[in-house]
Every structure is written in structure tokens, then in C-alpha cells.
């Protein structure tokens, strides 16, 4: 008993240190965004001065708008393509070129971004020489690049959801005479819908987050939010970026906590229903 206590104390201590390590920098970033002083680390009293500066700067809003536009379009296309890819990999058995296909699906997950960015830029330049498209780099090229890596994440989510799911319902529908296409639309799709939603959200945030690939494939005049942040903080700390970071962190954190809470409640309810139904069965 004594040993177990000691070990769990060790585990709790490491976990607390680990979590502190993960969270302290972000908490400090948020606190310093309310600093009056122009020099970020020198405390000059509480103020919302830098939020005002932020709200008045047009280039920030332009970058935010571009990023949101890219992220939305990217998330929709990536969810569509990723879902198709996940379905094909799990439900279609073997088909021609399956190994290459599954390789191309997992590779973007671990590919260093500098390589993906460079190769896509060189592709766009080659295409322009060959067929005259894309004539200018910006929204379209960034979105295409983002779809290419986000669809891989969506495909993996769909794949793991499909493999974890029993095929009973699909088989039942088939036995009742539904054609495979009908089964896909009426049975499989609704079952993987939560996975598609999770994939959409992940694709959206991945796109909002990406700096390197966007830097490579973007052209003059198209600056995404991470590109703007990066160009400003390269030379040091910037109080207005602290304010922007605070807004982003709070929006994302609220979304993630809300989603997690809803999922937790749903799971609890399901467990409760399951327990109740098994009790009824026993009675």
C-alpha cells in the first residue's frame, strides 16, 4: 500500500508539473496583453490599450478575414475528400492502387511542413508555365494546399470511426434489400456524421494554424493571420500581438471546452440509459 501511495504521488506531481509547463506560458501571454507599457515584459499597469490598437488596424482584420475564408472552404472540401478516402479505405476491401492510396493518406500527417510547402509551390509554378493556371497565388493556392494536408487528418478520423463501428446495421439494411449505394447514404453516412463534424473542426483549426505552407504557396498581397503574426514577432515581442493571441486563445478554448463538455454529457447520458435498460432487463 505504501508503495502505491508513493507511486501515485510521483504520478500526480509529474502531471501537475507537466500541466503547469503547458499552461503557464499562455496564462502569462494573456496577462501581459493587458499591460499598458509598450515594452511587453515591463509592467505598466492594467489597460486595454493594445486591444484598441488592434481593433483599429486594418491589415489585422484583412488577415483574419482571409484566414477564416481559407479555413472554411478548406474544412468543407477536406471533410468531403477525407470522408470519401476513409470510406474507400475501410469499406471497399482491396482495389487497384490501394497501398499507394493509403500511403498518400498517412504521409501528410508526418511530412515536415517545409517539404510540403516547397513542393506545392513548385507544382503551382510548373502548372502556371504549362497551362497558365493558377495565374496568381493567394486564396486559391493556400486553400488547395490546406485541403491536401487536412483531408489526411479527416480520413484518419473517419477510418478509426468506421473500424470501431459494427457493421450490423449496414448488413441488416442490405439483407432487407437496400442497394449498397442506399446503405451508404442512409445508414453509413449518418453513423459517421459525428466523425465528419470532428474532422471539419480539425481541418478548420489546422488551416487557421498553418504558417509555413501558407508562406510558401501565398503570393504578394495575400497574408493570412499566422503570416501576419509571424512577420511582426520575428523581431521581438509585440503588445498588440499579445492582445490578438489572447482573443484567439479564448475563442478556441471556449469552443474546445464546450465541445468536450457536450461530448462528456452525451456519454454520461448514454451510460445511464444503458445501465437503466440493463436494470429493466433484470427485473
Amino acid at each position: 500500500m505504501h508503495n502505491t501511495g508513493q507511486r501515485s504521488r510521483f504520478l500526480i506531481t509529474t502531471t501537475c508539473f507537466g500541466l503547469a509547463f503547458l499552461y503557464i506560458p499562455m496564462v502569462l501571454l494573456i496577462i501581459y496583453s493587458f499591460n499598458y507599457s509598450k515594452l511587453v515584459p515591463v509592467w505598466g499597469g492594467w489597460s486595454i490599450r493594445w486591444y484598441k490598437v488592434l481593433f483599429e488596424s486594418e491589415d489585422v482584420w484583412e488577415a483574419v478575414a482571409l484566414s477564416l475564408k481559407v479555413a472554411t472552404v478548406n474544412a468543407c472540401f477536406a471533410t468531403l475528400l477525407g470522408t470519401l478516402a476513409g470510406l474507400a479505405l475501410v469499406r471497399f476491401g482491396s482495389f487497384k492502387g490501394r497501398t499507394l492510396f493509403s500511403g498518400m493518406i498517412t504521409a501528410p500527417l508526418v511530412m515536415p511542413e517545409v517539404i510540403t510547402g516547397l513542393s506545392l509551390l513548385l507544382l503551382f509554378i510548373t502548372l502556371k508555365e504549362l497551362i497558365g493556371w493558377p495565374d496568381k497565388r493567394g486564396f486559391t493556392t493556400i486553400t488547395i494546399a490546406h485541403i491536401t494536408f487536412s483531408m489526411a487528418y479527416v480520413a484518419v478520423i473517419i477510418q478509426s470511426r468506421l473500424t470501431g463501428m459494427s457493421q450490423d446495421l449496414e448488413e441488416a439494411a442490405q439483407d432487407l434489400g437496400a442497394k449498397p449505394f442506399r446503405v451508404m447514404i442512409d445508414i453509413t453516412m449518418p453513423l459517421i456524421a459525428p466523425g465528419m463534424l470532428a474532422g471539419w473542426l480539425l481541418a478548420f483549426t489546422l488551416s487557421l494554424d498553418d504558417l509555413i505552407i501558407a508562406t510558401f504557396v501565398s503570393g504578394p498581397g495575400a497574408t493570412t493571420m499566422p503570416m501576419l503574426i509571424y512577420s511582426r514577432v520575428r523581431l521581438g515581442l509585440r503588445p498588440d500581438i499579445n492582445a490578438l493571441a489572447t482573443i484567439i486563445i479564448i475563442v478556441v478554448a471556449t469552443g474546445v471546452i464546450l465541445a468536450g463538455w457536450i461530448m462528456f454529457r452525451q456519454q454520461k447520458r448514454r451510460e445511464l440509459e444503458l445501465a437503466m435498460s440493463s436494470e429493466e432487463a433484470q427485473d
Partner: protein, 318 residues
């Protein structure tokens, strides 16, 4: 639900025959469409670009736009002459800078991976053994940074590590040091940044692996008289090796090609290959060399990437 198969309802017939026909084609060829669309996309935007990088890595640099010489030349009689130049690779081999940078990148990412494992393993273990409610909260706390901007998390460390930053201010006000110590723009800062941003990537696969472990195995070992340390070393650790491999590769591979962290936290003092590639491409405008650097990086990482794919495939399909 039974009439779902009756696609030829009169309503649809009248409203549009085109829709019907489209539906019909879809119904018969839908499987090919489902495979073809993402397949084609990946061939065009993922695989083809690598061949272009490979091609340009063997081109001669030139002061032109694009800045390399064409490899195919029309010689008379319509014969195409293909020029392949390995000079770029020879140049990389002979210039010490590139070799050192590759080695340095691998060193930094290996050490960071090890540190992530040492911190992440006990954390994942603690989460698995936590009670139901705590488990959800802890998982949430691990996943949350994963969703927030990577760039901002790196930026947050600039504020902590700067000469006038939080850590130095704290140490000075406590009287431990008199003058600020240099933390930002050192290799130390790069290690901190990599461990910080990639820690969740280590914890999550480890957690997924440990969650599936059968607690009765541990209990059996304890019942048979094994001490906790022995149980850990002979039962738990060997069974969590798949998680260790997956987590380590998820940290090691992207960390080796990392660009933002060495740039923002390492300044000019820490050379990493991702940053060198970027500089060759943007500042020096030397596309063939940048492409050659990318090809070599890919060769260095291809083995770990295949290992990861193997592990991932086993987990998803098995």
C-alpha cells in the same frame, strides 16, 4: 424505411429527368467516384509535387525566373536532350554547413523526443489511472493546447525567455541573479520550445495505447509477488512499446524539419535544416539547392515515416 429502394417514384420523374440520370450513374459507378476523387487529388497535389522537387534538385541554378535552367532542351531533329545535374547534391556533401545542420537537427529532435517521453509517459499513465471524471478533465487539458495556435504557443515562450522576460525578472527580483541570463536565442530555448509544443503528440498515442492495457495482467504480476518496479519493467513497459514508438515518431519526424521554433527561439544561433531550406529558398533564391536539401531531408526521414505508417496502419485496421 422499406421504400428507400424505390428511386423511380413519379415525383422525381416529373421534377427532373436529369437529376434521375445523374442519380442513376452515381448509383452504378459511385464506388469508383468515391475512390477516384480523393485519389486524383492526392496524386496531383501530393505525389506529383515531389517529382517536381526531385527534378528541380537536379537542375542547374540560373539567374532567371524561375531561377534554374531548363532540363529538357530541343536539340535538332526533335530529339529531346535531358540534362541531369548531380552537382547540387555534391555541393551539399562537400559544404560542411549542410552536413552539420542535418546532424544538429537530428540531435536536437532526438533529445527533445526523449525529454517528451520522460515527461509524457508518467503523465499518460496518470491519466489512464485517474477516475472517470478526472480522466476527462485531464484529457481535455492535454488536448486544449493542441487546438490552440502553434505559433502563439512558441511566441508565448519568447515572453518568458527574453532578457527582460518573466523568468529573468523573477530571478532578479528574488535576488538569485544580478544580471539577466541569456535564455532566448540559445539551443536551450529551442529544446524548451520543441518539448513544449510537441508534448501533447507524445501523450495522446501513449494514452491510447495504455488505455487498452488489461489491468488484470498487472494484478496477476503483483499477486505472484512481483514488486511494483518489477511489474512495471516486465509487464507494463513492454506492452506500451507500440505507444512509445508512435508517440516518439510523431515528435521526432516533424521536429527534425522544424522551422518556426529554431527561427523564433533560436535566433541565428541554432541551425536546423528546415530553417536552412527556407533561407536557401527565400533569401538566397537558390531553388535547386533548396530542393536538394528537401530531397535529402526526405531520405533521412523516410525510414521513420514508414515505421510510423506501419504502426498507424496496424492501429487503424487491426
Amino acid at each position: 424505411m422499406i421504400d428507400t429502394d424505390e428511386i423511380g417514384s413519379p415525383e422525381a420523374d416529373i421534377s427532373s429527368s436529369l437529376k434521375m440520370r445523374l442519380f442513376h450513374t452515381l448509383q452504378h459507378n459511385w464506388k469508383s467516384v468515391v475512390v477516384f476523387v480523393p485519389y486524383f487529388w492526392l496524386l496531383l497535389f501530393f505525389l506529383a509535387p515531389f517529382f517536381i522537387v526531385l527534378k528541380i534538385s537536379m537542375a542547374e541554378p540560373a539567374i532567371a525566373s524561375p531561377p534554374f535552367q531548363p532540363m529538357t532542351e530541343w536539340v535538332d531533329d526533335g530529339v529531346v536532350q535531358i540534362k541531369l545535374v548531380f552537382e547540387n547534391f555534391i555541393y551539399l556533401w562537400e559544404d560542411d554547413l549542410y552536413f552539420k545542420t542535418y546532424i544538429n537537427s537530428i540531435k536536437i529532435s532526438s533529445i527533445s523526443t526523449l525529454i517528451c517521453l520522460l515527461i509524457g509517459y508518467p503523465m499518460a499513465y496518470a491519466i489512464v489511472r485517474a477516475s472517470h471524471t478526472y480522466k476527462h478533465i485531464l484529457l481535455m487539458l492535454i488536448i486544449l493546447p493542441f487546438w490552440t495556435s502553434f505559433l502563439l504557443r512558441v511566441y508565448a515562450w519568447m515572453g518568458l525567455l527574453a532578457d527582460q522576460g518573466t523568468i529573468n525578472n523573477l530571478l532578479i527580483s528574488l535576488g538569485i541573479i544580478d544580471d539577466p541570463i541569456r535564455l532566448l536565442y540559445t539551443p536551450f530555448a529551442v529544446y524548451v520550445g520543441i518539448v513544449y509544443t510537441y508534448l501533447p503528440f507524445m501523450i495522446l498515442p501513449l494514452y491510447a495505447n495504455m488505455e487498452k492495457l488489461d489491468a488484470s495482467l498487472r494484478e496477476a504480476a503483483a499477486d505472484l509477488g512481483a514488486k511494483p518496479v518489477t511489474t512495471f519493467l516486465t509487464v507494463t513497459l513492454p506492452l506500451t512499446i507500440p505507444g512509445i514508438i508512435a508517440g516518439s515518431l510523431l515528435v521526432f519526424i516533424p521536429a527534425t524539419g522544424e522551422f518556426v521554433i529554431p527561427d523564433l527561439l533560436g535566433g541565428g544561433n541554432v541551425l536546423m535544416i528546415g530553417r536552412l531550406l527556407y533561407n536557401e529558398f527565400t533569401s538566397n533564391h537558390d531553388w535547386p539547392i533548396a530542393s536538394a536539401v528537401a530531397i535529402i531531408l526526405l531520405i533521412v526521414l523516410v525510414l521513420p515515416m514508414m515505421l510510423y505508417q506501419h504502426a498507424q496502419g496496424k492501429q487503424v485496421e487491426g
